[in-house]
């Protein structure tokens, strides 16, 4: 074994090491990218799904297939606050009046998740037990407007005065790649806003 052989071996080790480092770094970067991109994808899917459900439900405030069962739709909203809303509707269009209650759970409910801000957005139909899944909702708040488009200051003591609703929804990833407080300060979120949702049944008569 000559000097050149030793040089070859050393060279190979260095080049191999470099390649391994590159591969390792590549793997780490790919993992982080995949984690972040997949997380963002999930976040956006969660957001659009929640937005769809909320829009579908809220547009049906005061709706009943048998309209005689809600003779006065102005009374369809039974409770309204900045992050909770209870109303009468007909969930499955079977002609029976149902109630839906949307409300945001506390952050303390999800202490086990890495993101300190995520909460469960509950959708309770009739008297079902509240069940929620963590979709990364960090903000859900509504602004209510009266018939003359003036803001109704919360809490809304007389829900019948509500004519339209502004809905704001913020969804964040439930976990950051690096689990640190600083990471959650800058974690990306997706925001959806319905500027004026008018439930057409609410004031149709």
């Amino acid at each position: 074994m000559g000097f050149t052989t030793i040089l070859d071996i050393l060279g190979s080790i260095i080049i191999g090491g470099l390649l391994m480092m590159i591969a390792w770094r590549l793997s780490e970067a790919a993992t982080e990218r995949t984690f972040n991109n997949s997380g963002e994808l999930s976040m956006q899917q969660n957001l659009s799904t929640i937005a769809n459900i909320i829009e579908t439900d809220f547009r049906k405030i005061g709706y009943c297939d048998n309209y005689n069962k809600i003779p006065d739709p102005t009374k369809a909203i039974t409770f309204a606050d900045t992050s909770s809303l209870k109303f009468l509707t007909d969930v499955d269009s079977d002609g029976n009046v149902d109630s839906i209650f949307y409300y945001l759970g506390p952050t303390t409910e999800l202490l086990s998740t890495p993101n300190p801000r995520d909460r469960i957005l509950y959708r309770v139909v009739n008297n079902e037990a509240p069940i929620g899944s963590n979709l990364g909702v960090t903000r859900f708040y509504m602004v209510f407007y009266d018939a003359l488009s003036d803001t109704i200051p919360p809490p809304v003591t007389t829900p019948g005065i509500i004519s339209s609703i502004e809905i704001n929804l913020m969804v964040e990833k439930v976990a950051a790649f690096v689990d640190s407080a600083a990471a959650y300060d800058t974690i990306p979120g997706a925001f959806w806003q319905q500027i004026r949702l008018v439930a057409r049944n609410l004031k149709n008569r």
């Binding site: 994808l41 769809n52 709706y63 102005t74 018939a147 004031k203 149709n204």
Partner: protein, 408 residues
């Protein structure tokens, strides 16, 4: 050898990069797809809603319209609208609007029912001068005026309020803004018909009860029976009402009606005039109430419509000097609902009205001063919620439809 290894290394890394790049690309595409799908759904939904609105407008302009739209291009998509009569007896129609945009379809279903004036808690063509709705006024059901709505210190409207003319604030919006619990729309033109009472006559001829050739008809409802006479002192004739007026319409042609009593069932009184301003007037000589008050008996089906071609007055007589109870939807085609001798009669207590008032011109029921009521009545009007979905038989309709259910 080293050349081959280099090629393998480069090929391996290239493959790795390609796979990773493809995955990243897929994730990005799916993220964008998400928003595109949401956008497409939103657009298709907007097209469907627009189709429903277009159809509702066509029906508003022509209540017999049922042509629909077929494959009509709209907002780079397509809309289809069909109109079906889903209840021929009640003439309930359903508009089904289908919006299609780039493979996404949304459906909106709207049910429309004939609109009757009886649904109003308060309707007027003219507010009878500069009369202000004040903070002590509450209207419990749908409200409409063809006139200005003059408001002072936050009056309250629990039903939907509509006006043809604008809102006028006594001082400013912040000081006088009304509370609209049922919404508010301005610019709604809903004229009162001019011949609705006359049109009741053939219906009464068909299967109702008709009085004619008399100056005055005195009617006393007594549950299932109706007592009537043609002069104050003559004896009553008693008839079994469901047999005498099977369709529920009692019509007095070209005369004055004086009525009172307890109503069982669903009836409408029509009172016409052939031009004499004194005729076509209904006087309420005493309480006219349901046998079963729906506030006590929620299943009560008793309903009463009082339709005068001219006016409806609360008679200035002793029984009416200490409150009057009225359970009816009152319709005054050319006149209004008021108190006879409102400015000279004694203080008469309260008008306890359960129903609604539809009148051409707002009339006075009393006079008021700084010390309170000086003559006539104080108003205690409550809306009969059942009028949102039911109406007395053959009560005048608006000629149009109203949306009773909107599914989207």
């Amino acid at each position: 050898m080293s050349g081959k290894a280099t090629i393998f290394v480069i090929a391996g890394f290239s493959l790795l990069f390609l796979v990773i790049a493809k995955n990243f690309g897929d994730v990005s595409n799916r993220a964008v797809d998400n928003f595109i799908d949401y956008h497409k759904e939103t657009v298709s939904h907007s097209i469907a809603v627009s189709g429903a609105n277009l159809a509702a407008n066509e029906i508003f302009l022509d209540p017999t319209w049922d042509d629909g739209f077929s494959n009509r291009p709209f907002q780079d998509g397509e809309l289809d609208v069909s109109v079906q009569i889903i209840d021929p007896y009640q003439n309930i129609r359903q508009v089904t609007a289908r919006g299609t945009f780039d493979g996404h379809t949304s459906i909106v279903k709207v049910k429309l029912a004939p609109s009757k004036f009886s649904k109003f808690a308060y309707y007027s063509v003219s507010e009878g001068g500069t009369i202000w709705w004040t903070g002590s006024d509450t209207v419990w059901g749908p409200f409409h005026t063809q006139d200005y709505m003059r408001v002072y210190r936050h009056p309250v409207y629990y039903g939907k309020a509509t006006t043809k003319k604008k809102l006028i604030y006594y001082t400013s919006q912040s000081m006088d803004k009304p509370y609209f619990f049922g919404g508010y729309e301005q610019g709604v033109d809903l004229p009162l018909p001019t011949d609705a009472v006359d049109l009741m006559e053939p219906i009464a001829d068909d299967n109702g009860l008709k009085f004619h050739g008399q100056d005055t008809v005195y009617l006393t409802f007594d549950s299932d029976t109706l007592k009537y006479r043609y002069s104050f002192s003559s004896p009553d004739t008693t008839i079994y009402l469901p047999g005498a007026a099977p369709n529920g319409l009692i019509f007095a042609k070209d005369c004055i009606v004086r009525m009172k009593g307890t109503v069982k069932g669903q009836y409408t009184i029509g009172c016409s005039s052939s031009g004499d301003p004194n005729k076509g007037t209904v006087y309420l000589d005493d309480d006219i109430v349901f046998e079963k008050d729906p506030r006590i008996y929620p299943t009560s089906s008793d309903l009463l419509g009082i339709c005068a071609e001219n006016s409806v007055y609360m008679t200035d007589n002793p029984p009416n000097h200490s409150d009057i109870n009225i359970h009816a939807s009152i319709y005054c085609e050319k006149g209004g609902f008021g108190a006879q001798n409102y400015d000279t009669r004694p203080i008469s207590g309260n008008i306890n009205l359960l129903g609604g008032i539809i009148q051409h011109t707002r009339r006075a029921v009393g006079t008021f001063g700084s010390g309170g009521i000086k003559s006539g009545y104080a108003k205690r009007y409550r809306y009969d919620d059942r009028l949102m979905i039911a109406s007395p038989p053959f009560f005048p309709g608006t000629g149009g439809f109203e949306i009773v259910s909107w599914y989207e």
